[in-house]
Symmetry: C2
Subunit: 249 residues, 2 copies
DNA sequence: ACCTGAACACCGTTCAAGT
DNA sequence: ACCTGAACACCGTTCAAGT
């Protein structure tokens, strides 16, 4: 089933310009542009083929036999090449800060693909190898090793990438206005007696925090929370490190 | 457009059994069962209508005029009622641990809806009010207030819920075998010189960590990473708390 | 109020056939 | 090797009409 795509994978990644000049890379770029413009819900293989002036079957020939393969390619294209190992800072904490701010910035440029990342991050091996390598090295520097290091790796990747996925998760495709109104009404109808803390923090949180917002990160970024997560995670990893004689700080 | 659903919302949440006995709740339950069984990709409004022995239009009448409304309802049904305020522990750290382990357990029972949570967590106001209230109170206990508290709230929710979303993100709908083989081959083909840390940790991480896995959390849970994230986050929040005179520990 | 029956405008994917 | 043209089996959603 995947035979053709697999055969393709074996050859030169691009291949010389085809008859009509269509390439895997060009298809991926066009798909990203389309998703940026119309949203993931508004994206379709057929629309992509129209945008490229080509029959739908053509895309399948280039990209493999399923939409998922294209999505995986898109996810890889966006989250790869964030940082090289040479760019690592002497301070592991600084390395993590830079790396994951770049990650969020990269996703923020294409917020509509965020859902794909949560879904498909598992599927891109080599492209993200530098990121994996860097995170592993920082955790070693932080004093981790063995299974605790792997756990810390998952905590860092899952926590931070997960945050970004949620932050830029899809907004209602709706007319915007109705959701905003419904959410607003719901929040106003909140039982103040039962939930005093929510009532107290409503001014600061209304449409500015998870659960209580009705717009996503591309309209209302949750930057403070992300920074807090990074810093807390770093502080916590440092605090819980097996080797607790980290001279600095 | 949403008029009917909105009118419905004003009345008793359930309404007495209709002609055929169909209810919003019954529809949501059937939808969850269907997604559990077939996966989110295999789910459709028409299939749901078939499962209920009803015309598609009937579902729209009950649930509003878009699939998204049903999805929001599903997400709310799964993540609500995890904990009441009375169940809070004296130690805020213990409260957080319990709450978010329950969250992960709840999602783990319906892994195929995980993608909806990342997407739709924004849309369920009242159902999640207890969870919001509890997290806010724990952060107050931890010494936070004002904007830093809101940032911490977002860090906790976004980090932990995001982790779970990624952990249970969709597996390839594929025949399973092919992806496993492709991923395996890619990992074997890794440049050991360029990525020594990955090479070193490959035995511990192969299919057992983000990015390097080809199965999702329902097949291969990443429990250790989640625990590490919770504990590091707690330790970090404690360490960075504005009031640093927390007597315990 | 609740549901049927049918219709509209789309999809993803496959496959023979062309060049 | 790369692409056309057409087909198959589906979708989500709407709308008049029934009871």
């Amino acid at each position: 089933m995947v035979a053709k795509a697999k055969a393709r994978r074996g050859k030169a990644p691009v291949g010389r310009p085809a008859q009509i000049g269509l390439t895997r890379d060009r298809i991926v770029d066009a798909a990203i542009a389309l998703i940026d413009e119309k949203g993931l819900a508004g994206f379709s293989m057929r629309e992509l083929s129209r945008a490229l002036g080509v029959y739908p079957a053509t895309i399948y020939w280039h990209v493999g036999n399923a939409k998922e393969y294209l999505f995986a390619e898109i996810a890889a294209a966006i989250t790869s090449n964030l940082m090289t190992v040479d760019e690592m800072h002497a301070d592991w904490r600084e390395t993590l800060r830079i790396l994951f701010h770049r990650y969020r910035d990269a996703v923020g440029k294409h917020p509509n693909v965020a859902q794909l990342l949560g879904a498909e991050l598992k599927s891109n091996g080599p492209p993200n190898a530098p990121m994996v390598e860097i995170v592993l090295r920082t955790l070693k520097q932080a004093g981790y090793s063995g299974q605790p290091l792997v756990d810390a790796f998952n905590a860092v990747i899952g926590g931070l990438a997960g945050y970004v996925t949620m932050e830029f998760g899809p907004a209602p495709p709706d007319g915007e206005g109705e959701w905003a109104q419904i959410m607003s009404e719901r929040l106003d109808a909140l039982d103040v007696e039962a939930f005093p803390a929510i009532a107290e923090y409503m001014p600061l949180m209304r449409n500015k925090s998870f659960v209580l917002r009705w717009q996503n990160g591309s309209s209302v970024p949750l930057t403070g929370g992300y920074d807090c997560l990074i810093e807390s995670l770093i502080a916590g990893l440092e605090h819980r490190s097996p080797k607790r004689m980290s001279g600095d700080r």
